[in-house]
């Protein structure tokens, strides 16, 4: 992934001043984490197996975070992605008897439907995104538990699905590969298509966008559907890895995804977005998780470290 023309901001000269603090924070943090890893676990941390493991672990949240980047670019937010992940898994699970491909169709359809309902509620129902997707958070979770009758559905017989979750291509785990592909496609869509430009335009200045002939409602609807698509892909990878569809997966995934987007440098107010930053944000959290695991740190510590990192990274980026 190239270092980018990614953010909406500023010119060549203006950038030069901003690059040091704003866009180099995460790469520096990532390099620092790798150095720490090499020092404390030499021979274990810096192996291709371990690094691919980091990427694989991060892929489920990572794919969703790419979609979330577009939602936040328009000035919105999607709190329902974690619950939607569970609902999509269960919807696929109910089609399990018809095979792997039907599972995938079911999961994608449910995730897209949830995204479309979010978008419709926000655009035509005029409900603010925070509330609309908060409502969807509880609806989708309830739906998942109800459809599954509170028990996970075994997917042990679906070989193709399991290949998506834990297979390898040329030694690279499939989820890691798909995450990278989604990130690259996301970067292209944001920076090299009219849709990406319009999403940032709507987030940056909605009335100016309207006067320039953009129909903000369509763009906003589309970014929630796009996030639904990302959730559907994640649901397929997650269910394949677990070899089961569970109604309780995806808890707090929305917060991890939003955190990755925000430490990546995308503005919560909309109008400035970077897929590269989101990718680095996801990797940063993945590395921390990995390091603390290698050190056998309790999971409680991980939450504290993650939270502190969010505060520090965002505070550094917001310095003018």
């Amino acid at each position: 992934m190239a270092v980018d023309t990614d953010t909406t901001a500023v010119d060549a000269r203006g950038r030069l001043r901003q690059v040091p603090v704003q866009e180099l924070v995460l790469p520096i943090v990532i390099i620092a984490l790798i150095i720490v890893g090499v020092i404390i676990r030499p021979g274990v941390f810096l192996t291709s197996d371990n690094l691919l493991n980091v990427l694989t672990q991060a892929s489920i949240t990572g794919i969703i975070a790419i979609g979330m980047t577009f939602v936040i670019a328009t000035g919105g937010i999607d709190l329902s992605v974690g619950s939607a992940l569970a609902a999509a898994s269960i919807a696929g699970g109910l089609l399990m008897p018809y095979g792997s491909w039907m599972f995938m169709i079911g999961a994608l359809a449910m995730a897209l439907l949830i995204g479309a309902i979010n978008g419709a509620a926000i655009v035509w129902g005029k409900v603010v995104p925070f509330i609309a997707t908060l409502a969807m958070l509880t609806i989708a979770r309830g739906l998942a538990l109800w459809m599954a009758e509170r028990t996970p559905i075994s997917l042990i017989e679906l070989d193709i699905l399991q290949w998506f979750g834990s297979g390898r291509v040329l030694g690279i785990p499939v989820p890691a590969l798909i995450f990278v592909i989604v990130a690259v496609v996301g970067w292209v869509v944001l920076n090299r298509t009219t849709f990406g430009r319009r999403a940032v335009a709507v987030g940056g200045n909605r009335s100016a966008a309207r006067i320039a002939g953009i129909r903000p409602g369509r763009v906003i609807f589309a970014v929630y559907v796009l996030t639904g698509l990302c959730v559907g892909i994640s649901a397929i990878l997650l269910s394949g890895r677990l070899a089961s569809a569970s109604p309780v997966v995806g808890n707090l995934v929305e917060l991890d995804a939003i955190a990755a987007v925000v430490i990546g440098g995308t503005a919560l107010t909309g109008g400035k977005a970077t897929v590269t930053g989101t990718f680095f944000g996801v990797i940063t959290f993945g590395l921390i998780f990995n390091l603390l695991n290698l050190l056998n740190m309790p999971t409680e510590i991980q939450g504290v470290v993650k939270g502190l990192l969010i505060l520090v990274a965002v505070a550094l980026q917001r310095r003018d």
Binding site: T5, T8, A9, V10, D11, A12, R13, G14, V188, R192, T193, T194, R197, R198, A201, G204, N205, S207, A208, A209, R210, I211, A212, G213, I214, R215, G271, K272
Partner: protein
């Protein structure tokens, strides 16, 4: 006139350096009590920096500011306020959802024990309005419900509540129409009669002669002329501001063609616009005059499809526009440069290129992708054709002056080869030097056959180069005047509601 021995404010050799830029390079200014001191200069001449140094918001690099003979501590806004220097900035700093009285006493509320003394604040607010000669404002009204002119009066009341001896007004007339400006003049004259000194900053040079006692001109951070008498001819003032010979402010009117390009029939959205009808020919510049609130902006928004229409229709080139669809209006050949350029026209953090290309992105689509190279090339070409300065199309729009930002909006519609341009106060916040350039750009567009509808609160510019001027009053188009032969009195006579007793002109 005050009989105090020395001047009220004395600025000597003021210098302010920012990294890489000298904003002020030695400014002198003397203001006496009871005097209206007009401060003029192009954007970037240093007017704002100067008043920020005086009001303590900015610490000067060198030089001194004396107030009533004493050296003023630098960089201490509270010290400036305490001594009686009140500044009313262009963007009014009122809290919209608080009452008038609460705004007036914001930060120095009257208290009875730990509680606010509302009665006392209301009483004193009333007294302040009486002093300002504007008793129509209720102390309990929410500020957001007031008209801009009234909000200005609230700001002035707040300044008086600090017992201001020097009042600095930064472009107070920018958001007011001519009648309201006249009322503001009255308020200022009352204050100077009480001995308050006033620094009046404005782009409207006509005001200098009407209101000012003396004039100081800044150019590139220096005082180039000071203590000029108020009857200095406008041409002379402009020559000081631009530092050289000034070309004619308004370009010649080109011929308009016979083909009708825009037809508006019975457009209505009560109460803002009622039964508005007119036609516009190719190459014609049509002015829309009227007081603020007479429905001019609303009429443009209706034509463009931004607001829902109750009845009436709009035709561009003989084809009817579906209502409420700006995207289709644009496709039919309309373009709009909105009044609130920063909040509705531009993405300030975006490059000028992106601001220019945004309305015509599909043109740069190659397969599924945007061709950034041709986007940059085409946008830069149009920006250059409008002489946008500096010639740095990748630089963020916020770093450009108002006039050059306006050019980005115009370049956007040139890129789309639009047929009709709707311009809402195109020279608002644009300094004198850049204004004549904007006028020339508009005239060139018209000469190329584009029809122009231009809303302006400045009658001089409407009569200066529009072919025809329509006058709006309370939502109705009430008069049509010939631009070349009509006078400002003609326009005001139609624009001012009959029940007003305000003196027109």
């Amino acid at each position: 006139m005050s009989d105090a021995s020395g001047p009220l404010l004395e600025v000597r050799g003021l210098v302010k350096d920012y990294p890489g830029v000298r904003a002020l390079g030695g400014v002198d200014l003397t203001v006496t009590s009871g005097q209206v001191h007009c401060l003029i200069g192009q954007n970037g001449a240093g007017k704002s920096t100067l008043i920020k140094c005086v009001s303590g918001l900015v610490e000067p690099t060198a030089g001194e500011v004396r107030f009533e003979g004493d050296l003023l501590p630098v960089g201490d806004p509270n010290a400036s306020i305490a001594r009686g220097i009140a500044t009313i900035y262009q963007e009014l700093d009122l809290v919209p959802h608080l009452s008038v009285a609460n705004n007036v006493f914001l930060g120095h509320e009257h208290k009875r024990g730990p509680l606010l003394n509302r009665a006392a604040m209301h009483r004193e607010t009333k007294a302040l309005f009486a002093r300002l000669g504007d008793e129509g404002i209720s102390p309990t009204a929410e500020v957001s419900t007031l008209r801009p002119a009234q909000q200005q009066v609230v700001s002035m009341a707040r300044a008086l509540s600090h017992s201001a001896k020097l009042l600095i007004l930064d472009e107070p007339s920018a958001v007011l129409d001519d009648v309201e400006v006249e009322a503001l003049f009255g308020v200022v004259r009352r204050l100077t009669a009480e001995g308050v000194g006033v620094i009046w900053i404005s782009h409207r040079l006509g005001e200098v002669g009407q209101l000012g006692d003396v004039v100081t001109v800044l150019k590139e951070g220096r005082t180039v002329a000071t203590e000029l008498p108020p009857d200095t001819p406008v041409d002379t003032l402009i020559r000081h501001m631009v530092g050289g010979r000034m070309e004619a402010l308004f370009p010649d009117r080109g011929p308009s063609r016979d083909t009708t390009v825009l037809e508006v029939r019975g457009l209505t959205r009560t109460p803002d616009v009622v039964d508005a009808s007119f036609t516009l020919r190719e190459g014609e510049i049509l002015g829309l005059a009227g007081l603020v609130g007479s429905g001019r902006t609303e009429l443009l928004r209706l034509i463009y499809g931004l607001d829902p229409v109750q009845s009436g229709e709009v035709e561009v080139g003989g084809r009817r526009l579906p209502p409420g669809r700006p995207d289709l209006a644009i496709r039919a050949g309309l373009g709009l440069a909105p009044e609130e350029r920063k909040s509705e026209g531009l993405w300030l953090d975006w490059s000028m290129v992106r601001n220019t290309s945004i309305a015509d992105l599909s043109r740069f689509r190659r397969g599924p992708f945007t061709d950034l190279a041709s986007e940059r090339r085409d946008a830069a070409r149009h920006l250059r054709s409008l002489n946008t300065q500096p010639d740095a199309p990748e630089r963020a729009a916020r770093l450009f002056s108002g006039g050059n930002q306006q050019k980005a909006v115009l370049a956007r519609w040139l890129l789309r080869s639009c047929r009709v341009l709707l311009l809402d106060e195109p020279t608002r916040g644009v300094d004198v030097g850049a204004r004549s350039e904007i006028y020339r750009v508009i005239a060139d567009l018209a000469a190329n056959g584009i029809g122009i509808v231009m809303v302006s609160s400045e009658l001089a510019e409407l009569l200066g180069f529009c072919h025809r001027v329509l006058v709006m009053r309370e939502g109705h188009i009430v008069d049509e005047l010939d631009g070349a032969t009509s006078t400002e009195e003609d326009v005001l006579q139609s624009a001012v509601p009959v029940h007003h007793t305000t003196k027109a002109g």
